[in-house]
């Protein structure tokens, strides 16, 4: 008899885990709370992905297609795990959707519940809720996905755009001390895209550190050397409104030693990633550990980053911390291998 494995979350990590398991002949039950697969990249219509600017559809579309085509993956849309119990070495889970609820026994479980975008409205100094032309990187991803890069306030092409890094990350006041890892790269990528679309539009990036780690650095160099994106050192401390329907960034140029107040017609906040409400919920429901950053905690961050502290429950993707799609996909595969081994051992 084939193994039964539960995968919670249908983003890049969960999709890859499910597909790999199906190829091993496992019966996979995939539970997704949204009405579609693809996770955050799909939800916010990411169009081109860093590091190589390939169309998101090449990656996300491909993952969805594979999962949907596999005969042994049962996808439950708009549903969740409402009840969860250990049953010897196995697990009994109730899967609930709007119209039905069913209990099933699984040999092992993969949690791939991902992240939430930090809501910039929570940091009042950036006036995200006050001004239409203050948006964040997920909004800009969505706008680009909808082929609309115009200023939200008046529908005109932007002439001068600022990117502000580390919004909702690396700040004791908002309660997130960690670095969200992807937002620097997303910002330089978007600055390139803006300059490509509107060669007349100036792009500035306000930074404290630019963390385009590893090969992502290529995009950072490209943004400056091929697209004349200007970087300015200093974290913006306030956004106010300016004359002629502009928004003003107030900060310190720490290299020139002095305050500035510069008008822009659009500001893009590089909001970070958070564990979201789903991480503590899943932690409680499944009895697995939450870490001090609000993400799920691996048994050993270095040795077994894809294992939870509970035998038979595995972790994959951004639910254990900010990371890129490639890492999420890799972890999906690692978790699949481990979940399969556990299931076979306890057959």
């Amino acid at each position: 008899m084939a193994e039964n494995i539960l995968v919670i979350g249908g983003g890049p990590a969960g999709l890859n885990a499910a597909t790999m398991l199906s190829e091993l002949g496992v019966n996979v039950t995939l539970v997704e709370r949204d009405s579609f697969l693809g996770g955050n990249p799909k939800k916010f219509k990411y169009k081109f992905l860093f590091p190589d600017m390939q169309p998101a559809d090449n990656v996300i579309g491909e993952l969805i297609k594979k999962a949907e085509a596999a005969g042994n993956i049962k996808v439950n849309y708009s549903s969740e795990v409402s009840d969860f119990k250990e049953n010897g070495k196995k697990f009994d889970a109730t899967i609930k959707s709007a119209d039905k609820s069913e209990i099933k026994t699984f040999d092992s479980v993969i949690v791939a519940t991902g992240f939430e975008h930090f809501d910039p409205a929570r940091d009042a100094k950036y006036s995200y809720q006050l001004f239409d032309d203050v948006i964040d990187i997920k909004d800009l991803e969505r706008m680009m996905g909808e082929n609309n890069l115009l200023r939200p306030s008046n529908g005109k092409p932007p002439k001068k755009v600022a990117f502000i890094l580390c919004v909702g990350s690396r700040d004791r006041h908002v309660g997130n001390q960690y670095c969200s890892r992807v937002c620097c790269t997303v910002s330089v990528k978007q600055a390139i895209e803006l300059r490509e679309h509107f060669p007349d539009c100036e792009a500035y990036i306000f930074y404290m550190d630019i963390r385009t780690y590893g090969f992502f650095e290529d995009l950072y160099w490209k943004s400056m050397e091929e697209y004349d994106v200007q970087i300015v050192k200093g974290r913006v401390a306030e956004i106010t409104s300016g004359p002629d329907n502009t928004v003003v960034c107030k900060g310190e140029d720490t290299l020139l030693r002095g305050p500035f107040e510069i008008q822009f017609d659009m500001v893009v906040l590089a909001s970070g990633m958070e564990g979201g409400p789903q991480s503590p919920e899943i932690s409680k429901k499944l009895g697995i550990e939450l870490d001090e950053h609000g993400f799920l905690k691996p048994e050993n961050v270095t040795l077994s980053p894809f294992k939870s502290n509970k035998d038979g429950i595995f972790l994959a993707g951004a639910c254990t911390g900010p990371k890129a799609i490639s890492d999420s996909i890799t972890e999906g595969a690692a978790a699949a291998m481990n979940a399969y081994t556990y299931a076979v051992k306890n057959r």
Binding site: R235, E238, T254, P259
Partner: protein, 254 residues
């Protein structure tokens, strides 16, 4: 080799012979005005040296000293993002007042650099906007207090000369509050101008017009009639006590 000073010979300005003189700070030029070596006069031109302006030391003992104080204990947290300076009330008025830069100078023990800012270093008005913004909760507002203590301790003479006027005005202010329980702005202004040796300006047109106007609408007389606030004696004792304690604290941190 005999070194001998010859006071009588008049010489040129310091560093006068350096062609790009305007590029070089006074402090970086070493030169004896009158110098005779072995009977040869080498004044001015021949003994002019331009000192290297490379920083050659990070003085961690200074950092440790700040860290020991209550107000400066979080100096190790600052990562120089500039949000404090960006939100500061004072910086837009005095660009040389830069909390972030001061914290950096203190971190590296760069007293040479700090010294250049003695006149503005104590200008913090204590609004705490910086501390509200600081993402690392350094509490830069209190770091500025640490800075003021340091400046007093390491540069007493400069404080004495550069801040003399401020100290005197502060004294007038304190006496006024303690003596009358009220601030008389007109009097504060006049006394400060006198101390600054600018009393003449008080007779300018704007001032004259203002005095005339105030006399005419009666405000000048109502000010004179103001008495002390009710029960002032007790408040006065409390303030005096506070000031006395403050002085003791300052002396102990020296």
């Amino acid at each position: 080799m005999a070194l001998e000073k010859n006071e009588s010979r008049p010489v040129a300005e310091k560093g006068e012979h350096i062609i790009a003189r305007h590029l070089i700070d006074d402090d970086s030029i070493k030169e004896e005005k009158n110098l005779v070596i072995d009977g040869v006069d080498v004044s001015g031109r021949w003994n002019t040296f331009i000192l290297s302006r490379v920083d050659s030391e990070f003085d961690r003992s200074f950092f440790n000293e700040i860290k020991e104080t209550v107000v400066g204990s979080r100096i190790n947290r600052c990562w120089q993002c500039g949000m404090c300076t960006a939100s500061c009330t004072v910086t837009p008025l005095y660009r040389r007042f830069n909390p972030r830069a001061f914290i950096y100078m203190m971190q590296l023990g760069n007293l040479k650099e700090l010294k250049k800012y003695i006149d503005v270093a104590w200008r913090c008005v204590g609004c705490y906007k910086c501390s509200q913004r600081c993402p690392k909760q350094v509490n830069p507002a209190e770091m500025m207090e640490a800075l003021a203590l340091v400046v007093k301790k390491y540069f007493p003479e400069e404080v004495e000369t550069k801040l003399k006027l401020d100290e005197e005005v502060k004294k007038i202010y304190e006496d006024m509050i303690l003596g009358h329980g009220r601030l008389d702005l007109a009097k504060l202004h006049t006394s400060s101008m006198q101390k600054a040796g600018r009393a003449k300006e008080l007779l300018g047109r704007i001032e004259r017009d203002a005095i005339f106007k105030m006399a005419k609408d009666g405000r000048a007389f109502s000010i004179l009639k103001l008495g002390k606030p009710r029960g002032w004696g007790r408040s006065k004792d409390a303030i005096e006590n506070y000031l006395k304690n403050l002085k003791t604290i300052e002396r102990n941190t020296d």
